[in-house]
Subunit: 383 residues, 2 copies
């Protein structure tokens, strides 16, 4: 197995890009990553996207984007794994480079969600759940997470207000991130007064959709690597749980995330304590709490404690959502997994500005598809 | 790079499976392949599908199918590459096994197209073309192929009737294939009298959609290989051309297919003359002609000659569509690439019944996404 190095990153601001088409967004992020990598020869493109077929009436994004970017003749692939589509593209790229089959690849995450009515997007997000057994019963994706949060509150005695810390941290960190959708800090008062989306999930418990694209250039070719700033992929794992939460023996424990992170620590030869920054999948604040527990940063049932104690802030024990997370940076679903890894690279390079963490040797990104169904974890290291 | 062996194949009949859901279809084909392979331990699932998000309001097929089949905990990926989605999943599986990252994988092609109104399917098939530059101008996918066929007829002087041989061969071969959608032979008279779909493409020039699933088990673990019947993957390549036909310097030459097949021959250490069976992508008879030319079986502009002379029949120089092809077996788009490889394996094993070819040392399958945009070629060998 060849080792994979990240040599370029690029991202566009998450927002409502009504003036840009899918290929223009991907091309822009891709070009930024290529420029950052000093324009190496690209052997293949890996693209993560969830819903362009429904939301944009455009499939075959590999042909579309490769052609638009001047890679006619190259091979390219599109991965769909609900909200973990971005990391699925990254992981498969890492595997393909590991085989030596390719030397250098461009990996792009892309999603454009604001051109459609929000009811259509809500319906399409629900296609990540089982149509026969969940969606046809009337649940939406936020409803599934509300069930998890309600059960979690019941089991461990937390109140709504106890989840405020996750959103406050995310919004505070996004202020200095020019690529974030929301750059205003929020107070506990704003959190408590925000409207209920799906009880007990309020507007500040829920991440925002958006249009976005982020890109990464990876290589196993030593000639492309900057010897002064080597960022390598030392852990890459995926694991799964049932697609439906009702089929889990313990719905409020992310067993896929536990196994995926444990395997990633093992690959990297480290433990959770060695992680300096964790870009987690805070699609909802309940997912933030469950992720921290499953990955070994908090005891079972005590995730919110970390946020209440400020331990998730950039200067805390385990900084998370350091550029805003899904909550405030925004969650263009198929692109999110790539934004997360881009942000980990920014931290490891020491380019994270006012939310820079220290030390910054190991960073972890975890992308979750469905309500904990597909979990893909990457650990990157500054060598 | 580890070598990849095919140790199991499975398929369900293509038809209108209104009584089966997506996961049931995939599970059935997958189980047949697993049974054929003697139930090895599976490390990962690779799934090819184009349009379940639109046609079935179900995405996240990896979570859905892995869970349904009892592979909770495994990792799994879904590939979308328009009509080449099946081969994209297979090729990426071959790459992942080549890396040694996985030992054994289950690769499934799946598409369910008959639950939706046909206008919706026509619209969704068009999402394989560029929404901005082709679809919004009013072309459907059959219209793009009609433009190619008209130009081809103009350049080389062929008449509509000259394309009959492709469909007659396909339908004749499907008669004995229990998995084919259409099992009635057609005459030249039927071909000539069939209604025009999009001039000059008539109903018998066009393949049929359908619901279908096919599956393959691949391994690099020697303990799972049947030493008496070793089928290995000796060529695996992908290449691309522009997504839009108007951007090609020569629209009636499939340059992606030419390069992809040449690279595959080179990998296998053979030439086109060594191919004993070719499962080509006869979505339309013009694609059949262009594929035969691009892959070196016919001179430029002379593809229809091969069919007229009977050289594409099972006893001919280059047998194609030996189990019915896309035309008569049916074309459940994201599943087709896997059906093609399954059929090549049937031929190499000597299990192809009345359309068995001889000799049967090398078989090739070529899956095409879009109007020649993504071309994925596999050569398999009986060792």
């Amino acid at each position: 197995m060849h080792k994979t190095y990240v040599i370029g990153i690029g991202q566009i601001q998450i927002g409502e890009h009504w003036d840009k088409s899918l290929k223009e967004m991907a091309g822009e992020a891709g070009l930024l990553a290529l420029s950052d990598a000093n324009f190496p020869k690209i052997d293949a493109l890996f693209i993560g996207n969830m819903m362009s077929g429904s939301a944009n009436r455009q499939l075959h994004l590999n042909a579309l984007i490769a052609d638009w970017m001047g890679y006619r003749g190259n091979e390219s692939y599109v991965f769909e794994s609900a909200c973990s589509s971005g990391a699925a593209a990254f992981r498969t790229g890492v595997i393909a480079l590991g085989s030596g089959h390719f030397e250098t690849a461009l990996i792009i995450g892309l999603e454009k969600m604001t051109d459609s009515p929000s009811s259509e997007i809500t319906n399409t997000l629900a296609t990540a759940a089982d149509a026969d057994l969940e969606v046809d019963m009337g649940v939406s994706f936020v409803a599934l997470n509300a069930l998890l949060m309600r059960r979690y509150m019941y089991e461990y005695g937390w109140k709504n207000a106890d989840f405020a810390g996750f959103s406050i941290n995310a919004h505070a960190n996004a202020v200095s991130n020019p690529y974030a959708r929301f750059r205003k800090p929020i107070s506990e008062k704003i959190f408590l007064e925000s409207g209920m989306v799906c009880d007990p999930i309020n507007l500040m418990d829920a991440s925002s959709i958006g249009d976005g694209s982020a890109a990464i250039v990876v290589t196993n070719n030593k000639k492309y690597i900057n010897e002064k700033l080597k960022i390598s992929v030392v852990g890459s794992t995926a694991n799964s749980d049932s697609i439906s939460i009702q089929n889990r023996s313990d719905p409020i424990w992310l067993s896929g995330a536990e196994i995926s992170s444990k395997n990633a620590y093992k690959q990297a030869g480290i433990s959770a304590d060695d992680i300096d920054v964790f870009e987690y999948h805070d699609a909802f604040s309940i997912m933030a709490a469950l992720s921290l527990e499953a990955c070994g940063f908090a005891e079972r049932g005590k995730g919110p404690r970390l946020a209440l104690d400020g331990e998730i802030r950039p200067d805390g024990r385990i900084p998370v959502a350091t550029k805003g997370g899904l909550k405030a940076r925004g969650h263009p679903v198929g692109a999110t997994g790539i934004y997360q890894i881009v942000e980990v690279v920014q931290q490891l390079r020491g380019e994270a500005g006012s939310t820079q963490v220290s030390p910054n040797n190991y960073g972890m990104a975890q992308n979750i598809g469905g309500s904990g169904s597909n979990i893909i974890t990457h650990i990157l290291k500054r060598e």
